[in-house]
């Protein structure tokens, strides 16, 4: 399962059927799970993390996920700021997490392969 801007974030949630369809479309885009979309704060940190990442918990449960690879594209600051919070949330669910930071170049592909292989061996 994925939680990518070009994956489920883009198509998973339906547009609500509002009286004015434009309201529904606007709401759908504003509530996409992009890190740039600032979910309003809730009263405690624990509830706040649940409010922000609860949908991932549902993915984890439904797809019987054994580990999570968090791939951050360098210089996406909002994603970079999300990283430690998301790791805390996932490790709180006792899930192994591999955080990778990379750019779009192909020169690091060998390193990536080694790290992903090691992670897969760990969770196997």
């Amino acid at each position: 399962m994925d939680d990518l801007c070009t994956g489920t974030r883009f198509f998973w949630d339906d547009v609500p059927e509002t009286a004015d369809p434009l309201d529904g479309i606007a709401g759908r885009y504003l509530h996409t799970h992009c890190p740039r979309t600032n979910v309003p704060q809730t009263e405690t940190r624990e509830k706040d993390l649940e409010n922000r990442y609860g949908y991932i918990r549902r993915f984890v449960k439904e797809w019987n996920v054994d580990g999570v690879i968090f791939y951050i594209v360098r210089y996406c600051d909002t994603c970079e700021l999300e990283g430690p919070d998301l790791r805390e949330y996932l490790t709180g669910m006792k899930l192994p997490v591999l955080m990778i930071e990379d750019d779009y170049s192909t020169s690091t592909i060998g390193q990536l392969r080694t790290r992903v292989q090691a992670f897969l061996e760990m969770i196997a």
Binding site: P35, D77, T78, E80, L81, E82, G83, P84
Partner: protein
């Protein structure tokens, strides 16, 4: 922890007024500590968010976290906070202002008190955090991340401006209405936090003071067209403290009046920054290298003076229509007019408002060369620099150079590399002037 020997990072200033800024900076943090002791509300806040006057009118004491990062860099005491944030998982390419802020918050939480020998006494824990999307998106997101260390209410507002190829008359009302809603949301949030209602008259007074300070600041910069230059860019990086961290106060107005008087005197009496000004340089963009501001004096040793800059005063005064009677609506109008003031000119010429501003400066200030500063961890001020430089080259053939480092992270800076680049740049300026 033993107090470290202070490495010299700052530049020799050109004006006496700029030398008074250090006291203003110290007062920011002293005031915040005193406010906490007196039970007043203190808020982390972001500069240039268009909400300064609202915060002042609500008697909330602003604590600028970005400024604190710059201060740590100027004191060369940033590594312990940068490294702390990185150890907690924040990337080395994440905005270094944010890294220092998050690292500082983390250390303070871990110690249960202020980090030892923190510059200017450190930042006390705030009662709330006020983010904004103005300038860049980390400023919208940073305080959410800071929730790891501070369980305090957080509120971020959206600050918007239309793209250049927009029919402004068609979109204006939508933008202003949205901006007003965002600012009104902040007012409601602050009312809930402070337990008191916004006083419209106080807000108008703060706006009057804010506008007057920025008008005087603009007038100071107009005086800087004089040759020889009466006030250099390194002074701008000090005097901006009043405009950004004291906006909406009498302190800022008095400060810029004093600066205006001094710069006017220097301009009228042809008192330059250096005795023999050979090259007039424009700081074309990018955040300042807070870790190494003396580099401006290094340029001066070759007769090159930075006479004006395109950062930290991004807009000139604007005229909000008289029919606007609501102070929050006034702020929304002012933001829209500020963000769009070069759109029309850009559409008619280069297509780029920043290029228009630079071309205007090159003309008005008789510029011989342009220097940009690419900051590795600041996308907002770095992405597009090369593009802007290229468009600029279609209109002027004066030498242009891009220096690369970071605003506060010294690991991205190489003195030897910079000096080699500067040497070559000065040679090309000299060849043109010969």
């Amino acid at each position: 922890m033993e107090e470290k020997e202070q490495v010299r990072t700052t530049a020799v200033k050109g004006t006496d007024t700029a030398r008074k800024v250090r006291a203003l900076v110290k007062d920011i943090y002293r005031t915040a500590h005193e406010a906490k002791a007196q039970g007043k509300k203190v808020a982390y806040f972001m500069v240039a968010s268009q909400y300064d006057e609202i915060v002042r009118a609500m008697d909330v004491v602003p604590l600028p976290t970005e400024n604190y990062a710059g201060l740590c860099a100027a004191k060369r005491d940033m590594d312990r906070f940068l490294l702390k944030a990185e150890a907690e998982g924040y990337s080395q390419v994440l905005c270094s202002y944010a890294r220092i802020g998050l690292g500082f918050d983390s250390v303070r939480k871990e110690l249960g008190g202020m980090p030892e020998n923190a510059p200017d006494g450190g930042m006390p824990a705030p009662d709330m955090m006020l983010g904004s999307s103005a300038v860049c998106d980390p400023r919208f997101k940073w305080y959410q991340a800071a929730g790891r260390y501070l369980e305090v209410p957080t509120y971020s507002i959206d600050v918007v401006g239309p793209p250049v190829y927009t029919d402004l008359s068609e979109v204006r009302d939508y933008y202003i209405r949205y901006q007003k809603e965002q600012l009104q949301g902040l007012v409601s949030f602050l009312e809930a936090q402070t337990g008191r209602k916004m006083d419209g008259e106080r807000l108008w007074e703060a706006i009057r003071l804010g506008d007057e300070a920025w008008r005087l600041w603009y007038e100071v910069d107009r005086l800087r067209t004089a040759a020889p230059s009466p006030m250099p860019t390194q002074d701008h990086f000090s005097v901006m403290v009043a405009g950004h961290f004291y906006a909406g106060t009498q302190t800022a107005v008095d400060f810029y009046q004093g600066l205006y008087d001094e710069v006017k005197h220097k301009a009228e009496h042809k008192i330059g920054v250096i005795p023999a000004e050979k090259h007039r340089i424009l700081y074309g963009g990018g955040l300042p290298p807070w870790h190494t501001l003396w580099i401006f004096n290094y340029f001066e040793s070759f007769g090159a003076v930075f006479v004006i800059e395109n950062v930290y005063r991004a807009y000139d005064p604007v005229e909000v229509p008289h029919h606007v009677k609501d102070p929050v609506e006034y702020l929304a109008w002012r933001a829209f007019l500020r963000f769009t003031q070069r759109h029309e000119k850009a559409r008619a010429n280069s297509g780029n408002p920043t290029v228009e501003r630079l071309l205007g400066m090159i003309d008005d200030y008789r510029i011989d060369g342009v220097v940009f500063h690419a900051c590795r961890s600041c996308r907002a001020t770095t992405i597009g620099q090369v593009h802007i430089k290229n468009i600029l080259s279609q209109f002027t053939d004066i030498p242009k150079m891009q220096l690369v480092s970071d605003m506060v992270d010294l690991r991205d800076y190489s003195e030897a590399h910079w000096k080699a680049q500067i040497g070559a740049f000065i040679e090309s300026l000299s060849a043109r002037n010969a």
